[in-house]
């Protein structure tokens, strides 16, 4: 390689290193995505710099600004705030966090959540449990039956809520719930099983939270496993009854 080529390569490497140094992740600190289109990012410019650079469009560079790092003086923090509140910072370029991490923006969510048909009265949602079977452990049978039965209203509430938001859901579902109950009586894990597990993610998330919140009496020995069947049903639509 001759001297000129070496110089060229050096320049390229320096340029690339500078570029890399200037980048910051576009993912918000809670891991949430920025705009679905993915807003580009840049180093944090000083507020004064931002105000003085009107050539950039709002979508180009998110401002990674905040009150300031620990060492920043109170005066400087106050100045930043005043600039923000007086419109001197291009606030539309601050990072956008409007969805849960890894969840894309859903353009139909508002319409779904604000137009829940009440022509199918969700209060008719039915949930029935089969008798719990102890697969392992020493948990008392009567107590198990009682605690499992106590979960039913909560699971029914989850199902009602699910139906409110999914008015086209199938009228019935069957599956099994398996609980691992720790020696201290807390529920360690919840599994949903069955040949055809229905796709009801919101319902299962809610039902799992309910089951995990249950508390059995502490067992005398090791953890126990309990399984029981669940049937969800939503009787056929009936005429609306609005008060």
């Amino acid at each position: 390689m001759n001297g000129e080529a070496r110089r060229g390569l050096k320049c390229l490497l320096v340029f690339l290193a500078l570029c890399a140094g200037c980048r910051r992740s576009s993912v918000a600190s809670n891991g949430a995505p920025e705009r679905p289109s993915g807003e580009p990012t840049s180093p944090t410019p000083a507020p004064a710099q931002v105000a003085a650079s009107p050539a950039k469009t709002g979508e180009e560079v998110p401002l990674l600004l905040g009150p300031g790092p620990a060492g920043v003086s109170a005066t400087e923090r106050e100045r930043r705030l005043q600039e923000l509140l007086s419109g001197q910072i291009r606030s539309e370029r601050l990072p956008l966090v409007d969805t849960a991490p890894d969840v894309p923006y859903d353009p139909g969510l508002h319409a779904r959540l604000t137009t829940i048909s009440i022509e199918r009265p969700v209060s008719r949602a039915e949930v029935s449990f089969g008798l719990p079977k102890r697969l392992s452990g020493t948990l008392d049978e009567t107590q198990t039956n009682r605690i499992v039965a106590g979960m039913r209203p909560g699971i029914r509430q989850c199902y009602r809520r699910f139906l409110e938001e999914h008015t086209d859901a199938s009228p019935s579902h069957r599956f099994e719930i398996e609980l691992l109950i720790n020696a201290d009586g807390s529920v360690g894990s919840v599994k949903f099983e069955g040949k055809r597990i229905p796709k009801l993610p919101e319902f299962f998330a809610c039902a799992k939270a309910r089951a995990l919140a249950s508390l059995f009496d502490p067992a005398t020995s090791e953890p126990s496993r309990v399984r029981f069947s669940v049937e969800l049903s939503n009787p056929a639509p009936a005429p609306a009854s609005v008060k």
């Binding site: 918000a28 600190s29 809670n30 949430a32 990674l64 905040g66 009150p67 300031g68 790092p69 620990a70 923090r77 106050e78 930043r80 705030l81 005043q82 923000l84 509140l85 007086s86 419109g87 001197q88 606030s91 539309e92 601050l94 990072p95 956008l96 966090v97 409007d98 969805t99 849960a100 969840v103 923006y105 859903d106 969510l109 508002h110 779904r112 959540l113 604000t114 137009t115 829940i116 048909s117 009440i118 022509e119 009265p121 209060s123 909560g154 509430q157 989850c158 809520r161 409110e164 938001e165 919101e202 998330a205 809610c206 939270a209 309910r210 919140a213 609306a240 009854s241 609005v242 008060k243």
Partner: protein, 351 residues
Amino acid sequence: MTWHARARAWLSLAAFLALASFSVRAIPCGAFFAGSRESKTVPSLSVEQTLILFDPEQELEHFVREIVIRDPSPGFGFVVPVPERPLIANVKVDPFAKLAAKFPLTSVESAGGMRKGGTGAGMVTAAPVTVLSRQKVGSFTAFVLSASDAKALDKWFSDNRLLVPQEAAAWLAQYVKLGFYFAALRYEAQEKDLKSGTTRAETVRISFKTPAPFYPYREPVHPTSSDLPRELSVWLVSTKEYTPVSLFQPQATSEAVFELEWKRPLREHAAHSVARADLESLLSEELSKLLPGPGGEARAPLRLQIFEDQKRSRAGFGDIVMVPKQVTPLAGPTLERSRKLMASLDPAVTP
């Protein structure tokens, strides 16, 4: 189901609720008729709909919020912390179905020409809790409170049959420290409501002075978080355009000051220039009277912005302050009146 189990479910389902901030997940019968649809509909418990009418000249915000209710437990209610003393009123005609129909949550163009409101002034007292007003608002009893002692406020809620979840104590204490006021609404359940199984919605208005639009967005830190979908939609009407900004502080490193960042917690769908007459025809008379800016001859168009939030958790996010998009003088008394908002965006600021 116990109250705690129910409260946990509401909290995790969507947001704040009993005594959380202004994001009730509530519950009983009735429904509203949604626009031109043929079937009767109700909103889900997981949706919050808000209309903010803000007059920058008067520094006056009307925060109009829909509350969805089904099967309320005794003690159901909620608290909205606001920077200055609020007025609370019932809104007879829910504006949200019409707003969503005419100004949907999608990116679109504008429509095409305006008035004002009025409300209270600040009043801080040295008493631990001062009840500034009590009135009936729809199905609720509404209290306006100021407090100088968080524990006393907690006790007041308990004495007045408003159940405060344990995790809300720290949340309330922060607002007491900042000298905020509290709009507390207690649902007065009727016997027929308790097992009706149907859902209905009521809308309330909370009006207060503020130099910039404020959205009580911060929630108590819940022990369990929910992964269920939820949605917040906001229609902001003013004479200027604003960007919603919130302080974000990751919970895991809450002690690390350098983690503090400002974020936009709401997606802006559109900003319309709307003739006042168009808005007057869309909104009920009671809300039309509250539109910002001069009425009469000087009927300049208003700005209507549409925002949406689909986050399932607000953990780490503070309250929202809407900052102006255009340079707006901030000095002297206005700066002084902005201290509480500044404290929402930087915990180092003392109001």
